[in-house]
């Protein structure tokens, strides 16, 4: 069974082709990276999976439910958007309550569903802090914690570390990889940052709206006889990465 499956997705904005026959599968319990430069089509893929964009051609399945049946498909999905989406005037707890209610949970159910994660992610002291008083790293942690409400099976994160310092970035990555190891969670991590990929991850490389490779990172390195993902990327796209 797969956590996420994209089959033959084509997508246009007006007449401009943005995605061209995009397909990849995220097996259960996998940390999977969708890697591509700016403008490659990553956020369009994200928009289609989260139903912010309407599918024009192809199919999306989440935990074996078609996205057309979004009430089942999106039920076990947690989402972290690229832009900050917390209400800065509310406390962390109030933000969590609000998001929990959008998942149909009562306030108590919301906190109970993430009681371990609140401690593990280091936010138990911050629950009653007004969100605007938190630094960027902590705000991102709140967004990730919020996405974990209601025992998610799939987390979708669109460039979640943009604007964060190196330590905050890798703290978040380490935390999520550990969650994938210890629970039944799968993660789709969308990024343009090559240093966020490790050899145990699954990966799909997107370039000009097409998936040019889809594999496990370690297998990809072996296949092209390269030592890093950026070398593989440069080899496949003939693009210089500065």
């Amino acid at each position: 069974m797969s956590a996420l499956e994209l089959n033959n997705i084509n997508f246009k904005y007006d007449e401009k082709i943005v995605l061209n026959d995009v397909s990849f599968i995220i097996p259960n319990n996998t940390f999977f990276v969708l890697l591509g430069l700016n403008g490659a089509g990553k956020s369009t893929v994200f928009g289609l999976i989260t139903r912010l964009l309407t599918l024009q051609d192809g199919e999306v399945f989440i935990n074996n439910h078609s996205i057309k049946n979004y009430q089942k498909a999106l039920k076990s999905v947690g989402i972290v958007f690229q832009e900050p989406t917390l209400d800065l005037d509310l406390t962390v707890r109030q933000n969590l309550y609000y998001y929990g209610s959008l998942k149909g949970l009562s306030f108590n159910e919301t906190l109970n569903s993430i009681k371990d994660e609140i401690i593990n992610i280091g936010l138990e002291e911050k629950l009653d802090t007004i969100t605007k008083e938190l630094n960027g790293g902590h705000r991102r942690r709140v967004e990730i914690l919020r996405a974990l409400i209601a025992k998610r099976k799939l987390l979708l994160l669109d460039e979640p570390t943009v604007g964060l310092d190196v330590k905050s970035r890798f703290d978040i990555l380490t935390y999520l990889r550990k969650l994938v190891e210890t629970t039944d969670l799968s993660v789709l991590w969308i990024t343009h940052l090559f240093d966020e990929v490790v050899s145990s991850d699954g990966i799909a490389i997107i370039n000009n709206g097409s998936i040019i490779e889809d594999s496990e990172v370690s297998l990809l390195l072996k296949k092209y006889n390269k030592t890093s993902v950026d070398e593989v990327f440069q080899y496949l796209t003939k693009k210089e990465i500065k």
């Binding site: 964009l53 999905v77 989406t85 005037d89 309550y97 609000y98 149909g104």
Partner: protein, 263 residues
């Protein structure tokens, strides 16, 4: 069913929290109608003679006449402010949280409109209380009956505002909407002058005002404050809410939202 209840509770909870935290929003919503009541109406009181027209059974002062219109003004401007916040939320990204929920999108949007309507109702009641102490008294029955009517009318205006927010691509365009939609909607209605008085001066403005949905909202509030039920108004408002909700839901469908976010 519990899922929907929790969802509605959460959205209303958040709107009320924001409302009580942003005290300036509460006061600024009251200042506008109070300026009209306490200052504007003073000058007009002597200049404008009002005949006895339904629902009034006796001669009334100009201040008494404009109170329902000013309640409508609170609902109208609040609805538009909420629409402005929707555009802001959409531009900033927090709207995406709402729209990517697994719960039916139309239900979520309805809850958002209901939450704004509750906030508007609190403001409208506060205004009526101030007006009472200023000397504009209605019957207790009128005050009680007007609460659901204000809530319902606010829903209509919020749905219209929601539709507007779905067609406005950028926050900057909102000023245009203020000038070309909100102000004409308010001034070309029976909020400040009775329709017969407008008819005396201009048939064109009278005709436009008689087709303005806001006129029906103001008249519905006016009749209810005097414990009178106008069936025609009720039917028109019922049709208005169905039509405006439909427009708002279409405006926020995925197909339409993506067009806006990309341009």
């Amino acid at each position: 069913m519990m899922i929907y209840f929790n969802c509605a509770k959460g959205i209303i909870y958040k709107e009320l929290l924001r409302f009580f935290k942003q005290k300036s929003r509460f006061f600024s919503a009251l200042v506008r109608p109070l300026l009209w009541l306490l200052i504007f109406s003073v000058g007009f009181k002597s200049a404008l003679g009002l005949a006895i027209i339904p629902p009034y059974e006796t001669y009334i002062t100009y201040e008494t006449y404009i109170v329902p219109g000013l309640v409508g003004m609170i609902l109208l401007f609040n609805g538009m402010q909420s629409s402005l916040m929707m555009i802001f939320d959409r531009e900033m990204g927090s709207m995406k949280i709402l729209l990517s929920s697994h719960i039916n999108r139309n239900f979520l949007l309805f809850c958002k409109m209901l939450a704004t309507a509750i906030v508007s109702t609190i403001q409208a009641i506060t205004f009526l209380i101030i007006a009472y102490f200023y000397g504009i008294e209605m019957s207790l029955q009128g005050y009680i009956l007007v609460i659901p009517v204000v809530l319902f009318s606010s829903l209509v205006l919020n749905a219209m505002a929601l539709f507007l927010s779905s067609v406005i691509k950028q926050l900057e365009n909102f000023a245009t909407v203020m000038n070309f939609v909100i102000f004409p909607m308010f001034f070309l209605s029976s909020a400040l002058y009775p329709l017969w008085k407008i008819k005396d001066s201009s048939i064109v403005i009278y005709t436009i005002s008689s087709y303005n949905p806001f006129t029906y909202i103001v008249e519905f509030i006016r009749f209810t404050l005097y414990s009178k039920f106008d069936f025609t108004n009720f039917v028109i408002i019922l049709l208005l809410i169905i039509f405006s909700l439909l427009l708002a839901f279409i405006g926020y469908s995925s197909k339409n939202i993506f067009k806006k976010s990309r341009k």
